[in-house]
């Protein structure tokens, strides 16, 4: 049923869920939310399953008219969300009524806001996912939202009692987005393609995110990483987080829309929780890379899941 109408498109807004799995063998990128933590939170707060499709809003937000009573939740970047022109809270569940207008102001921190909508966005499941891949034009609306698009939700939001304490994250549960980022990496699978000096440069240098950055990957500029055997490998798999280094020695971090294969050597792969963080980095921000072992990376993944469990528990408690 109809939930929101796009009055103004903003810079780039797409439907995204947790991604499209099982089709990389056919050369289909995973896609999905750039910041999966924020997407999951947006859904949990809006009363959905974690993996429902939500709107991913980039830098300059859209203007949306509410077509029926809904619960929405804004998570991720603070792009000054407003309801009927008044600033509204983030990381909490907000009721909106038919006729309300959602809009955004100046970007304050981070790059991507997620709008979770009660019921979950109703677009066809394409290869098991509602995520949009703009380059091949499939999933979601097959493109970024434009004026006149109507977003449907899968089911009418269940009746909710406004008297119940609204769901809200605690201050310490909300990530802080600065302009300097540390991305932790597991080295490899092609670290032997770089000289010891190249590896040292990669782990000690500071890189900035160039404007040639999007959902597919961020092109970085900074100290040149020295190759040992040249910048060509026999094409193999590229996975989100891969840091590939072409001939010019400037790293490219592949993210949610990563192509499934590529021919540049990969010096390391950014761990999943830090891919979420990088989703909130903008052109001009700075990145340093820090090496972690695989077992440490796996522990950090467990920590992340525990954090999400703890948040879910505290939300359940607060609504009684």
């Amino acid at each position: 049923m109809e939930a929101l109408e796009v009055l103004h498109k903003g810079a780039l807004t797409t439907t995204q869920d947790l991604g499209r799995y099982g089709y990389q063998r056919y050369g289909v990128p995973i896609c999905g939310a750039m910041d999966k933590f924020a997407l999951r939170m947006a859904n949990i707060l809006a009363g959905n399953e974690e993996g429902e499709a939500a709107l991913e809003v980039t830098i300059m937000g859209p203007k949306l008219r509410v077509l029926q009573g809904l619960r929405v939740a804004f998570t991720g970047a603070d792009l000054s969300p407003q309801i009927n022109g008044l600033p509204c809270s983030m990381w909490c569940c907000l009721p909106v009524e038919k006729g309300d207008v959602i809009s955004f102001g100046a970007p304050r921190s981070g790059c991507r806001t997620y709008i979770g909508i009660s019921g979950g966005i109703d677009v066809p499941l394409i290869m098991g996912s509602r995520s949009t891949h703009i380059r091949t034009g499939h999933g979601g609306f097959g493109r970024a939202l434009i004026q006149g698009d109507v977003i449907h939700v899968k089911e009418e939001g269940k009746n909710w009692d406004k008297a119940i304490t609204p769901k809200k994250l605690l201050e310490e549960q909300i990530p802080i987005y600065a302009k300097d980022w540390v991305a932790r990496v597991v080295l490899g699978p092609q670290q032997e393609y770089f000289t010891p000096r190249g590896l040292k440069t990669f782990l000690e240098g500071e890189y900035w995110i160039t404007p040639e950055s999007d959902r597919m990957g961020y092109r970085l500029k900074g100290p040149k990483i020295e190759h040992r055997y040249g910048a060509d490998i026999i094409t193999d798999a590229t996975t989100p987080g891969s840091v590939q280094v072409p001939g010019d020695g400037m790293p490219i971090v592949l993210l949610a829309d990563a192509q499934t294969t590529g021919g540049y050597p990969k010096i390391g792969v950014v761990i999943s929780p830090d891919q979420d963080k990088l989703a909130q980095a903008k052109p001009g921000d700075r990145i340093r890379f820090e090496k972690v072992s695989i077992s440490r990376a796996h522990q950090l993944l467990v920590d992340m899941e525990n954090k999400i469990k703890a948040i879910k528990n505290s939300l359940t408690l607060s609504s009684y």
């Binding site: 089709y23 990389q24 063998r25 056919y26 050369g27 699978p189 192509q259 294969t261 993944l301």
Partner: protein, 252 residues
């Protein structure tokens, strides 16, 4: 081919099983045999996997499956791989208009290789190619070029836009044809009216890893005719032969 495959961790959720460091049918067959073995094994915690030229990439959920256990399981599968028959395959005929505005680099390719354009075309369309892998996006299908065409390097400056259908190669490798409009650093020898990408179908692509292709030169007029049929969804891609499965049954 390595004596034993290398197991290379790829970040916190990936594992690459590398069988060698060259493009050869033998290595690629091993890669696809392991994919088949893994398909049959149906290991809990394995999210998905896919073959590339010389390695198999596996995406796993470390919260469900320990990396060491995954590698142990794969090492067990290594021993059974020989028993698995090579993947079944079809040979597709790929119509191509060579040269002119459809293959803007044909003259330069010929000059670089010290051949005439006619010789380049003859070499290009006179053999069967194994599709080693699907990848990039939209299911691009990749092949190895014959020795006479292999010395051509990538373009120094990539072309910013080439239409889907462009038949390209460089550095010893080729794309059966380009799946999407967009940039390419490979040389364009011609253009095919066929389509590879059908997101509404399952599988969403026509030519799969393990299939074979053979090019057939066509005229510009035939290109237009086929193109129209393809766009209307009425063109039947010609399959030159289907390999029979070990059971003797034909593929669908």
């Amino acid at each position: 081919m390595y004596r034993r495959p290398r197991y290379l961790p790829v970040g916190d959720k990936g594992l690459s099983v590398e069988f060698g460091n060259e493009v050869s049918e033998e290595i690629n067959h091993q890669v696809r045999r392991m994919a088949l073995a893994l398909e049959k094994a149906n290991l809990p915690g394995v999210i998905e996997f896919y073959p590339t030229f010389r390695s198999l990439f596996i995406l796993y959920n470390p919260l469900e499956l320990n990396l060491k256990n995954l590698i142990d399981e794969l090492k067990k599968l290594e021993k059974h791989m020989v028993e698995i028959p090579p993947p079944q395959s079809r040979t597709f005929e790929i119509p191509v208009v060579y040269g002119g505005e459809y293959g803007i680099d044909l003259e330069n390719i010929a000059k670089f290789l010290n051949l005439t354009p006619e010789e380049v075309i003859r070499i290009h369309c006179s053999q069967e190619y194994l599709v080693y892998m699907n990848g990039f996006m939209g299911g691009a299908a990749f092949i190895k070029m014959p020795d006479q065409l292999a010395p051509l390097p990538r373009k120094k400056t990539p072309a910013l836009w080439m239409p889907a259908g462009s038949v390209t190669f460089a550095g010893g490798l080729g794309a059966v044809f380009k799946v999407l409009d967009g940039p390419t650093g490979w040389h364009v020898i011609g253009r095919s009216p066929l389509k590879q990408w059908f997101p509404e179908k399952n599988p969403p692509i026509l030519i799969l890893a393990g299939d074979k292709v053979r090019y057939r030169p066509i005229s510009e007029r035939e290109y237009q005719e086929i193109k129209k049929l393809v766009e209307e969804g009425r063109y039947e891609v010609k399959i030159l032969e289907k390999e029979k499965e070990a059971s003797g049954e034909n593929l669908k």
